[in-house]
Symmetry: C2
Subunit: 232 residues, 2 copies
């Protein structure tokens, strides 16, 4: 990883054409040749960049200024892209050996919660058993479809953060499911809105619609899972 702080001008030509006037910016050149041009604001997105695989060539202009030309190979998606960085003055230039990164571990994401709850549906309500995950409906899959002790169908929507839109989503599913004579033969399909955190507004709306709210204790669930896996 090479880090350069320099007064520079950047021109990009690819899917679009873009230009950055001369100003001081941070240039990151990663080990794979990819280049990022960052300013001192904005979000995590660079002002301009070149994604790997690409090649950086360092050259000199007629008037003796340093110019980097970054080119991506033409792919199936599109022809070659080019990023031209004209450097006027370098304030800082250093290289660092970082090694391969072990990578990001995402956790607590909805999918993982769903996996855990699919294995332990009784965590949400006693006697609940799983019918299937991603139960298909015309408007999309229900996270978990279960059956309660009395044999009634229960649709479960899982979110990390329970907000109004999640309740709306579950409501739409329930409306649809309750038109299925097979599912609601013994009685209407119930809904459980499960989340690690349920916002007051969402709770009010859910209650109003007859939907049960279930706060999920993620650590406890993971504990259950760990305990179980230790048995094998």
């Amino acid at each position: 990883m090479r880090i350069v702080v320099a007064r520079c001008q950047v021109d990009y030509a690819g899917r679009l054409t873009a230009h950055l006037p001369m100003a001081t910016r941070v240039l990151m050149i990663k080990a794979d040749g990819s280049v990022l041009v960052h300013s001192d604001g904005g979000s995590y997105k660079p002002l301009n960049w070149m994604s790997p695989p690409c090649l950086v060539r360092e050259g000199t202009t007629d008037d003796g200024r340093v110019e980097w030309t970054v080119t991506s190979r033409a792919t199936a998606k599109g022809p070659e892209d080019t990023l031209r960085i004209l450097i006027e003055e370098i304030h800082h230039d250093s290289s660092h050996e970082l090694g391969i990164d072990p990578g990001l571990q995402k956790d607590g994401v909805e999918k993982h919660l769903q996996e855990l709850l699919a294995e332990h549906p009784s965590h949400l309500a006693d006697g609940l058993t799983l019918v299937r995950r991603e139960f298909p409906t015309a408007i999309g899959p229900v996270d978990l479809m279960c059956r309660d002790a009395g044999g009634l169908s229960v649709a479960i929507e899982i979110k990390r953060r329970g907000e109004i839109d999640g309740v709306e989503q579950l409501t739409r599913y329930l409306e649809l499911l309750n038109r299925d004579p097979l599912l609601c033969a013994r009685g209407p399909v119930r809904g459980i809105f499960a989340a690690q955190e349920i916002k007051p507004q969402a709770r009010v709306l859910a209650t109003d619609r007859g939907i049960t709210c279930a706060l999920v204790d993620y650590d406890a669930l993971r504990g259950l899972d760990d305990a179980e896996s230790r048995l094998f």
Copy 2:
């Protein structure tokens, strides 16, 4: 802008929970307090980050290691997010005054091409006049609807890079438009596929479907526009 290269461990808790094991990474702290954690690969997206507005507090753990705690204020969208960066060893630490960036000038984007061609439809074919931009159909708007010298309707799809999917899109529009008795009273609606660059496969497909391909000279178009605006 502060740039730190350090062996660090990162934990994020917000909409999701994420963890980065101890490894050497680049930390960027922008003037607005936003923080980016970059590894030596991947794309322009950091491994982890905190968007502004946020606050960085530098502290020390019980065992004397440096720890940064970055917190975003709770917003309407969600509660507080936190990014904890535990630093084991600092390889590099420097700060740089960048000033405000003049910002990116985007150009040649589809919308801009459409504007230019709407003003100069004859650039695509002699005698072409604009009927309207974003001509609505049941499956979406046609970029430009024109009439040729003979009064026949011409549907124009504009892309910066002409690829197969663009031809397919125009084909669907033409199919629909040719069912409209008003539009094709004097004869079938023709199609022009206009792009700065047309891939061979797209050209073959277009020709096969009786669609005319038009290579757009962006610089010439812009020149026309500039010349015109100089008249006023």
